[in-house]
Symmetry: C2
Subunit: 279 residues, 2 copies
């Protein structure tokens, strides 16, 4: 579970779409927002009106975002109550606006939200983005590090990236994940050496270490391979089970000898019998 620094106080930015055309895009924006904990969507003059069933369908159950969406006649009204606003743009603009990447912008929004300021992010029309005078209503510009030879993010993709960076800015660590893999720390040497002893005993009984004078080098190699992997204790148990199983039911002593389960305490005897037959 990612530990937000202050979930209670983390007021996210409003997402403001200027003259969006397609209901599907508005719905995908809502879905993107909801995945990363944003819920305040504002529309300036949506072409096909509001509410929109196409938007609701595309939102994929982000109904709380769709239901709370507000519509404005002009951009100035849509940002009137905000203290700090980013404009997203794919191309360079003249003027005095600082330009940020999404990581920096996410952190800036988080910091201002934590300070009690209301923030927002402007996203332009599907076809040509924001007019210069609309960018002028923002404090700073945010732009995405897209491939300059193929720069074609749609608004839902742009909203997704900003929502994601906003969420990330609240993680205690950048590498935090919602769930973790097992704690696979390397086992102790005693545990590893116990596997060596067991495996080498089984191999010795089968005559693996031949000729005899090569045995030291063969043991070295085998131990090196099993050491480099850095196996954890549960992994060593899996390996021991594998070796035990291979050891017991060899082609030379097929299944059916009556030995039950994989109780390792029974193994030396089983191994001895197999070795007797092979040698």
């Amino acid at each position: 579970m990612p530990a937000a620094k202050d979930p209670a106080n983390a007021i996210g930015p409003a997402i403001i779409l200027v003259e969006p055309q397609l209901g599907e895009n508005i719905g995908m924006v809502a879905r993107a927002m909801a995945n990363f904990g944003l819920s305040e969507l504002r529309l300036v003059n949506p072409r096909d009106g509001w509410p929109s069933e196409k938007a609701r369908a595309a939102a994929s159950r982000a109904d709380h975002v769709i239901d709370a969406t507000k519509v404005f006649d002009d951009l100035a009204s849509a940002v009137a109550d905000l203290n700090f606003v980013f404009a997203t743009t794919a191309r360079e603009r003249d003027g005095f606006k600082p330009v940020r990447g999404p990581v920096e912008a996410g952190r800036a929004l988080r910091a201002r939200g934590q300070a009690g300021l209301r923030t927002g992010i402007l996203f332009g029309r599907e076809r040509f983005g924001l007019y210069n005078d609309e960018v002028g209503l923002a404090d700073e510009i945010v732009t995405f590090p897209v491939d300059p030879s193929f720069s074609s993010l749609n608004i839902a993709q742009a909203v997704l990236l900003m929502s994601y960076e906003w969420m990330k800015s609240g993680l205690a660590e950048e590498t935090a994940t919602n769930f973790s893999g097992p704690e696979l720390v390397p086992a102790t040497k005693e545990q590893l050496h116990s596997l060596f002893t067991y495996l080498e005993g089984a191999l010795e009984a089968r005559g693996y270490f031949r000729p005899e004078e090569k045995k030291p080098k063969m043991v070295d190699n085998l131990r090196a391979v099993l050491t480099r992997a850095g196996f954890a204790e549960p992994e060593l148990k899996v390996l021991r089970g594998i070796i035990s199983s291979l050891d017991r039911f060899s082609p030379a002593m097929p299944r059916g000898d009556g030995s039950p389960g994989d109780d390792p305490r029974r193994l030396p005897a089983a191994r001895k019998r197999a070795a007797d037959k092979e040698s």
Copy 2:
């Protein structure tokens, strides 16, 4: 322009979609990839076959990705030539796989690509993702820091985030942007004080500093406001132009006195005339 650490050697991961259903989604995946410099798309048993005109339409000119897409009958074949594979999953799985966030995964893919290894990322079906045995074919798991109460990324969104993190891992700095704002470093104090002198002269001529005994405090306040903003030299020029313009064409001395342009060298005389009329 973001400086990739080694654009020439940066071989990106293959994006592998397991049994994708909708051509539109495949197209949006291609578009997402192309924005962030990835081009190798592999499909395992796409439900509606391949090629797909719906995919091409949704790819929004990412034709180079669509044209190079390869189709495989099973996942093992799709990853056969790869050295290192991530599986994306939204839910926890049993097993020994390490779990990474997208930032860490992007860096891991970049590092392995730079070392000459071929890498890939698996994305599951629209409805239920990857089966456990499919996750088993991967080396590690990557998962997204979504809101646990609304976790609903579609495959194109998931591919977008991974492609974005892969691109970012190649930036010289995390805050690099494709273009920059102006270098707005605060002007020197001499430049700022020159504005003070000019502005205070204009205000003095208009009788702004009244009563006289309050002038020091008024000057302090005015200077404090203009200092805190940290204006850069070009901004000071804009302000000087504004002051100059206000100074020249006051209501008390309307436009039409013949003074041209905004040549600051002409201003003292203009200001003097206005002051004469007002006082």
